[in-house]
Symmetry: C2
DNA sequence: TTAGATGCAAACGGTTTGCAGGGAA
DNA sequence: TTCCCTGCAAACCGTTTGCATCTAA
C-alpha cells in the first residue's frame, strides 16, 4: 500500500467537484477549478476578500462575484464549510471530511483553536430523538481567553 | 411566599440595568429604559430592524443608532444575548439567566426550537482543561428539518 | 453648565445583482 | 451556435459614524 501524496488528495477533491458539476449540469470552467485549487492550498480559515487578494497577487483575473458564486457551489457539494463567528462577514474553510471539529475563538485577536469532543454527537442524537428532527449540520463555537493565573 | 408577577420580574431587570449604568458612569436616559421595556415585552428572537419598526408603531421616537448603542450596553450587562444564525444580520434575545438553552433552526423557514443538554457543560470543562483557556460564552446551533417518515 | 446621548442622514463594507461580452458544450 | 458563466460596477442592506442638538447630572 502506497502513501497518498498531497497531489493525490487534491485529485480526489477535484474529482468530487467535477462529478458534482456534471451531475448538476454546471459548466466545468477553468475559473472554478482555479478557485478550488487556491482554497485547498489554504490552511485554516479565510474570507472572500482575503481569497480575492490572494488570487490577485497570484496574477489570476477573477472577480468577487465569481468567488461568491463558486463558494456557493463548493458549499453545496460539501467541499467547503461556512462559519459566521459572530462577525458580519463569513469565514470559510476547506472541509476534508477527515477531521470533524469545532472551534474556540480568542476574543481579543480572533485566533482559532480547533477541537473535537465526541459528546457533541450524543447531544445531536438525543435532540433528534426528542424533537423528531433530522440534523443536517451544526455549529459549536466557544469564545474566551487564556486562563488567567492565580 | 408570594408569587412574582411579570411586573416584579421586569423591575428586577430594570434594576440590573440601572445599576450597570450607574457603575459604568452612563446616563440613565428614558430612551434606554423604553428600549429595555420593549425588548422584555418581546418573546423569542428579534433583529434591530424589527425592533425599530415595532417601536415606531408604538409611536416612540427612536433612531436605529440609539438601538444599536443601547443593545451594546444590554449585551455588556448580560440582559440580552446576540446570535448570528448564519445570516448576515444579527438576532437578539432577552436573557433571563433563568433558562440557559441552545438552538435548533429549521433550514426552510428559520423556525427555532430551544433545547438544553447538560453535556455541553462537560465539553466546555474539558476544553478549558485541555487548552488552558477560560470560556466566556459559546454558541451551539443545530440546523435541519423534520424527520422524514420512512 | 457641560459632557454624554440622541436623531438623522450619510458613510461604510460585505454581499448581491444587472449586464455586456466570452467561452464551454 | 447557444446560453451559462465571467468580470466589472452599481445596487443592496445591515451596521457604523459624523454632527448638530438636546438633556441628565
Amino acid at each position: 500500500m502506497t502513501k497518498k501524496t498531497p497531489e493525490d488528495a487534491f485529485e480526489a477533491v477535484r474529482k468530487v467537484f467535477t462529478e458534482y458539476l456534471e451531475k448538476h449540469g454546471h459548466r466545468k470552467t477553468p475559473e472554478r477549478f482555479t478557485i478550488l485549487k487556491e482554497i485547498f492550498a489554504t490552511e485554516g480559515h479565510f474570507d472572500i476578500e482575503t481569497l480575492y487578494i490572494r488570487m490577485k497577487n497570484h496574477k489570476y483575473r477573477v472577480s468577487r462575484a465569481t468567488l461568491y458564486n463558486t463558494i456557493e457551489l463548493l458549499l453545496d457539494c460539501g467541499l467547503v464549510t461556512k462559519h459566521q463567528f459572530g462577525t458580519n462577514y463569513a469565514q470559510f474553510e476547506k472541509s476534508t471530511k477527515l477531521r470533524q471539529h469545532d472551534h474556540f475563538i480568542f476574543n481579543d485577536n480572533g485566533d482559532v483553536i480547533e477541537f473535537y469532543d465526541p459528546r457533541i454527537e450524543e447531544i445531536r442524537t438525543s435532540l433528534e430523538k426528542t424533537y423528531s428532527v433530522e440534523v443536517t449540520n451544526y455549529s459549536l463555537t466557544f469564545y474566551g481567553h487564556p486562563r488567567t493565573k492565580k
